[in-house]
């Protein structure tokens, strides 16, 4: 649906994008991550045709954004970092203006009403935008992106500045929209990206630092995974017994969590399930198992590892 090839952008002498290449297939929710100034918003602005690239090519639905801007723009609904709202208009006036601006040919009243109900702005439909709360302004921004049912939605930090309740509501809405739209979403809230997106691109200094599925990025050790095990028993002997179990490649005693109970970080080889053997070994020695959980690397850890 979206093809980005060797995208470069310079602001004066500063090179913000240094050859980004990626493609977004139809119907996925893609998370865009990066530190401030990494080039996320610039990339989004180039895809939507707001900015021009210094070099490279962007096509949306097969239309080159530079050469066939009108066709490409018709396929995109864009919510910039700051919603582009006219404060002196009511929500109704604004949405009707956007409807005309995008040259939509659907049943105007029905279409706008449907989107307003879906996003939850119908209760403020007649109100002046200047008088709305930040959450509602953000929602109105999302509604304008949805007008015309564009197949591609580009949302730049849609939950920025919202309270936790509003954030959850917008997150649920984006998950819902992701079912029948291709969505590119940027956010600083990594847990949000982890929850909503199927695939994540991490940008660092204008280049792609990682482009993978969310599952793989949150489990970067892939070949193996860690277990955190709490066992009541002598630390040295327990560790030696653990290392004898087939499938365990490493075991390290981390700390004493309770009197006599030690916590171990256990690295398990790919596809190995050590739980049964672990239980048998511990029960043979009479060492009660006090806790067992898998330890996956969070997206925060992956993000920091890749961007620092």
């Amino acid at each position: 649906m979206i093809e980005v090839k060797d995208l470069k952008k310079k602001y004066g002498s500063k090179e913000v994008l240094r050859g980004l290449t990626f493609s977004v297939p139809e119907g996925i929710v893609l998370g865009f991550l990066g530190q401030n100034g990494a080039g996320k918003s610039t990339t989004m602005n180039i895809i939507t045709g707001y900015l021009s690239a210094t070099d490279g090519e962007v096509t949306v639905g097969g239309f080159n954004v530079l050469e066939e801007p009108d066709q490409a723009k018709r396929l995109i609904g864009y919510l910039p970092e700051q919603p582009p709202l006219y404060m002196d208009m009511t929500v109704e006036e604004y949405l009707n203006f956007v409807y005309d601006l995008k040259q939509i040919r659907l049943d105007r009243k029905k279409h706008i009403e449907e989107i307003c109900a879906q996003v939850g702005v119908d209760e403020v439909y007649k109100r002046l935008i200047a008088n709305l709360s930040k959450g509602f302004k953000q929602r109105v921004g999302i509604v304008q992106a949805l007008i015309g049912n564009p197949p591609v939605l580009i949302l730049d930090e849609p939950t920025e500045g919202l309270d936790p309740k509003q954030r959850i509501e917008i997150r649920n809405l984006i998950t819902e929209l992701g079912k029948n739209h291709t969505v590119i979403l940027s956010s600083h809230i990594l847990s949000e990206i982890q929850e909503i997106c199927e695939r994540i691109i991490i940008i660092k200094d204008g280049m792609i630092a990682a482009d993978d599925s969310t599952r793989h990025l949150t489990d970067p050790l892939r070949g193996c995974s860690d277990l955190l095990v709490q066992i009541l028993g002598p630390a040295k002997e327990v560790r030696a017994a653990l290392l004898k179990i087939a499938g365990i490649s490493a075991a390290e005693c981390l700390q004493e969590t309770e009197p006599g109970v030690f916590e171990y970080s256990v690295t398990v080889r790919e596809d190995a399930d050590v739980r049964r053997e672990l239980f048998e070994v511990l029960s043979r020695h009479g060492w009660p198992l006090m806790g067992l959980r898998s330890r996956k690397m969070s997206l925060e850890e992956t993000f920091l590892r890749l961007t620092e």
């Binding site: 045709g49 021009s52 009108d70 018709r74 601006l101 995008k102 040259q103 304008q144």
Partner: protein, 232 residues
Amino acid sequence: MLVIAKKDFRQYFTSPVGYVCVAVVLALYGFFYYEVISTRSSGYIPGIYSSMLVWCMMIIPILTMRTFNEEEKNRTDQLLLTSPVSIPGIVTGKFAAAALVFTIMTLGSLLPCFFISAFGSPPWALIIGNVIASLAYGFAMIAIGLFVSSMTSSQIIAAIITFAVSMMLILIDHIPGGNTLLNKAAGWISFRARYDSFAQGRFSICDLAFFISVIAIFLFLTVRRIESRRWR
């Protein structure tokens, strides 16, 4: 283009700007008409438009000062520039809205004429010549004002520069120095000389083409200026 024009025209009247500008201009026209009626001679009516020129020079910068920089400041330019409307469409839409407000002001000035015509015979040819001259001058200044607004992020600076340019274009043919090349060039770009020609009832294709060229050039420059932002 039409959707932008409608939006901008509406915005002139959702803020006090449109009402204040129209009211001030019509009040001034009313004052000058009162003076003419006091002289009991409708022959002085064309002179009203000449006197109003300096007031229009002040009002037009107020109409145009926020056209582009306000959009940029509020980031609503992102909505316009990512929609399937071309940049020339956006620029001409904004021009049309400001031109329509100016037309309302100028045509509104004809109302006293209709009342006077019930009691006398105003020189309609001269009056219409003056109205056309005012419109041509106003539209050209609006195009210049739009260009200035696209150049600066400050509304005040945009208004001051537009006013300064309009002053310069009116006064440029008063440069002393005889028949030098500079004087000839000044005469060629002077708005006053072209305006006077219309105002005296002489319809000149050349002068009309001059004003249309100024409008086209500055709208083109505004389009190029907006496009250039994307490449910065």
